[in-house]
């Protein structure tokens, strides 16, 4: 099987070399050390990460990813799943994350999902009223956390 370029590290290692030995990798748009060049050449998992823009030193994506993932980790589905217990991932977690606060428009649907999910860890379905209360509590928490993140981000941008 022939090796296509994507399976090789695209950095040459001699581009814009700095006195401390680092160089600018055009392909991955970051400055790399000789050790990182070695990882890029010898380790497929590291090379894939750089090709995805998520490798060591890739600052262009760092801030955006940092902000997005912080927000993402506070999704309604994620929080609800945590509250229900981390043993099993709540099947509809992503849908609730996508809906966000707007999930309150889908309460009957969500209640049915949680009732079904509750049978994986207890013998009887959770009470619908309890589920709705939990959901509203989760939404309130997510809103509060999002506000804090926004304030921090606004502050650091100044």
């Amino acid at each position: 099987m022939s090796i296509t370029p994507i399976h090789q590290c695209q950095c040459r290692g001699d581009e814009a070399v700095a006195p401390n030995g680092t160089f600018w990798c055009d392909a991955h748009q970051c400055r790399k050390t000789q050790h990182w060049l070695q990882l890029c050449r010898e380790r497929e998992d590291y090379r894939d990460a750089w090709n995805r823009g998520q490798g060591p030193g890739q600052m262009g994506h760092a801030r955006a990813a940092y902000s997005v993932s912080r927000t993402h980790s506070q999704g309604v589905g994620t929080e609800l799943s945590r509250m229900l217990g981390r043993c099993q991932k709540f099947q509809h977690q992503q849908q609730l994350d996508d809906w966000g606060v707007a999930c309150l428009e889908h309460i009957p649907e969500i209640v049915a999902w949680v009732q079904e999910f509750s049978l994986t860890f207890q013998d009887t379905q959770m009470d619908a009223h309890t589920i709705e209360r939990i959901l509203r509590l989760v939404v309130e928490r997510v809103q509060t956390k999002s506000q804090v993140v926004k304030e921090v981000d606004d502050g650091s941008a100044k």
Binding site: A18, N20, G21, T22, C30, R31, T33, H35, W36, L39, R43, D45, Y46, D48, A49, Q54, G55, P56, G57, M59, A62, A65, Y66, S69, R70, S73, G85, R86, C87, Q88, T120, F121, Q122, D123, T124, S156
Partner: protein, 370 residues
Amino acid sequence: MGARRRCCCEVICWYFVEPFDQSLSGTTDMGANWNEVVGDWGVIGWRCVEDYSAGGSTANALIITTQQQPLASAGEQYLSLDIYDPQTGDIYYLYPACTGTSRKGALEAKFECLDASTSPQTWDVTIGTETETMEIVPNEFGWVRAICCVDHTAGQAKAWMNYGVIAACWDDSADPGAGRYSGFGHDNSGRDPYGIICDNYFVGELWTGDQICYDCFCRCRKFAPSRELKLTIFGATGRYACAGGASTPMLWDNAPEKQYWSGQVQVTGPNGRTITILCVMHCAAQDPAEHEGQNFTLSLDFVDNDCCHMNPDRCDGAEATVLSTCVPFNLVFGPYEATGPYGDLNCRLCYDPLTELEITTGEFWISVTE
């Protein structure tokens, strides 16, 4: 209300404990849980002994348990054995990841008592290619404990002794193989009346699919980083611009009071000024579910010059950010942002504030990789 179902992640970690409390005294039968491969093993007074009938002891005595761990965790074991009244010259072994009830695995943990006449006693502990000399104090009843753990997935092995002592002999490139059995042994040269006496054999999984068991490796999710890592400063701007690309090996400090990786980054600015940043990374025993690498924290200290006029919460043991990944292993810490007075002489690292008036801010990030 009916009985609650056990949730998926509450799978009990597999383990096997042998307290040697069977009523087998006076026989050579160790019971169905054991296979006496070499030597004459038995149980006397709720203790395991070897060559008790003839006195002395058998060379290279070996016993392997018939209990095998689940296939999913093959080659990933934690073993321990209590040893009574060790004497100078005693050599004990733990055999992890044995491939059968009569076959040892690829690795063995060796515990050699160099001097039992003093307190603490002196032992050499060996696993893989690593040997550490340890000072061991027996408990009040004369017992010491030998411990080892191996990880076939990570290709690592550790061995150490005694209760609560975490200094370990650590070979981070030693593959024990995928054996599911375990055992222990000794190679004494003439003890009497009972050869060796030991007790409380334990073997257990390091983890199951969802649960960390009795582990002894620092983990980023399931990945176990090695004892030597690499720290690199990146994304450096403004007052810290010249620090970008600076890197240092992070080495595991193998002492009871130093269970962490550490390294020193030296950064020399264009003005000829050099500062040294001491970096210390700790690892909590379990990786929380929030994000990968969250159980790693990094502390920074500027040696000689207190140049840490930056967000102090980051300097003092901040956890890895959500940018971190375990595979590939890339812990990301930061941003470290300049917050202190620009006129601080110690902070004239990359620029001279008297000539570069406009550069008043700056930041950098840190990456820790294999």
